[in-house]
Symmetry: C2
Subunit: 321 residues, 2 copies
């Protein structure tokens, strides 16, 4: 399914993949090694894919969009290496993190290096509006990281706080990927807006689904233990539902409010959340965002590529859990 | 003396000072607080001053250069907050660091936020060459940070490694400040080059002098203990000289090669270095870089402002130690 989705941009996506590490050429070999490790360890290359797909809507030859697609993936990678540092994470997707292999100092400067490198890729477009959008987005991502930290173990925060957190954590950069892909491809303002909205809603659906998977998928699928969010005090949508509606909500509140109990009682917390209708509720919310994504993309003229965008939203909603 | 040097740009420097925190307006109050604390805690605003002075060479009204001057100071501040984090520093210039007040996570994201914010200030110029220069410089600063880490306690590294380290730590950003100030003021290419070189050589002289002061000035002047570099295993020019030429060089080598001895024997290390001709040698090197800075600036037409640039190099060489 995943291959099918990206069929129309597969050659360009391969060029992005090859280019991601090719241009990283520091004088300090540790930075090259750490950056290459980080980038190879992976990911779904979702942001570059959306840059390329959005561009493809407006022109056949999208080779000139490749540096932009690379830049979006590198900005994403820079946030990951810093996240792993502050979270003291030893592994990401089953591979050791830069932090665990090279330490804190290398993690910080590798992140900064990759971010600065991403900026150099923008030079080819000579457009200050692209820089402005990416800088503003980066600031909001920082806001989101601090906000997520402040929200940990806080059981009184509700839906609004959660939506704001996942917007900054995930939806904004996907939204910007779609927006910029269209912007560098001479799309009209209303078309850019439609793609920007599509990316935003899809990103929201994607993150809610990811948060559900963290509660229900097994360690092998996740590449990290089930319930990692709970153990770190990150309260996601199914938990928020249970905190409001489950008969055992007082007990849950006591557990989730305590860093120690979040670890020692993780199984019991999982049990309460999965016993509530929290996962169904979150799943419903993800579907609604996927619907909004579909509505946004349907504003664009009908084409095989539009069907691909719609397929992606279906794919989001139908991920197994 | 310092006031005299900056007389010609004092109104604009005050506008920069006022603007530095004014535009930082995150939704997350911790980021605003941490950024404001970092920026107020200080510094000599050397980078904005050089942006403004360089611009003043080519035009009378330099108000449009203020965002660029602010951006350079913010990029510098972003590097400081990350440096304090990786160095585990509790104070900088006598004030508590962001790390000690708000912790690691806030330090990382405040640094990233300030850097991204600096980028938004560049939008007004709509010039991708400025972005390219700043991105390349940021990458080199990261190189330098990792290289400094790798060079700690390594007594076999010599002058070349040291010069490369201080270039990246200090000289490049001062050089770029002069270069960009001229670039946005319609200077000719050869004039931009002269100012870029001036900033580079001045930055080298400045950092060598700073490294000398770390060995000879008292804690009150420095805002940190005398010999902080030694205690952290950072081997600067006077130490490199002593490692090569002092009769006690074998003893010094043993001390400086060991993290434990760098702390327990710090007084003895200081004693050996100060007893060698290392400070004189470093002072001579700083003077030579100051001379090169003067030669670079003398390529520009004679003017009262050129005399100011020359005064600055004199001021560098005559700092008391």
């Amino acid at each position: 399914m995943a291959v099918f989705i990206f069929d129309s941009i597969l050659p360009e996506l391969n060029l992005v993949e090859a280019g991601l590490t090719k241009h990283i050429n520091s004088n300090v070999s540790i930075i090259n090694d750490a950056a290459a490790h980080l980038i190879k360890a992976g990911g779904k290359r979702m942001r570059p894919a959306f840059v390329l797909l959005a561009a493809k809507y407006f022109k056949e030859d999208i080779k000139d969009v490749i540096p932009l697609a690379e830049a979006l993936e590198l900005i994403h990678a820079a946030t990951l290496v810093h996240d792993d540092l502050v979270d003291n994470s030893d592994t990401r997707r089953g591979a050791p993190t830069v932090r665990s292999k090279w330490g804190n100092r290398t993690s910080i400067y590798t992140g900064n290096y990759i971010f600065a490198h991403a900026l150099t890729l923008l030079e080819t477009y000579d457009r200050s509006d692209i820089l402005e959008i990416l800088a503003e987005t980066s600031m909001k991502i920082c806001d989101g990281e601090i906000n997520q930290m402040l929200s940990c173990y806080n059981t009184s925060l509700g839906l609004k706080n959660y939506l704001r957190r996942i917007e900054r954590k995930t939806a904004l950069l996907i939204s910007v990927s779609c927006q910029l892909g269209a912007m560098v491809s001479n799309a009209e303002d209303w078309e850019i807006k439609a793609l920007k909205n599509y990316g935003y809603y899809l990103g929201m659906a994607f993150q809610i689904t990811d948060d559900i998977l963290d509660l229900v998928a097994d360690e092998k699928t996740l590449g990290k233990p089930t319930g990692s969010d709970i153990r770190q005090g990150v309260i996601t949508l199914p938990a928020i539902y249970a905190l409001h509606h489950d008969p055992r909500r007082e007990e849950l509140k006591r557990f989730l409010g305590s860093p120690e109990l979040c670890i020692s009682e993780a199984e019991r917390i999982l049990d309460i959340i999965l016993g509530s209708d929290g996962v169904d509720y979150a799943s419903y919310a993800a579907d609604r965002f996927a619907d909004l994504a579909q509505r946004s993309i349907r504003m664009l003229p009908s084409s095989p590529l539009r069907e691909t965008f719609i397929d992606i939203t279906d794919f989001m909603s139908s991920r197994e859990y």
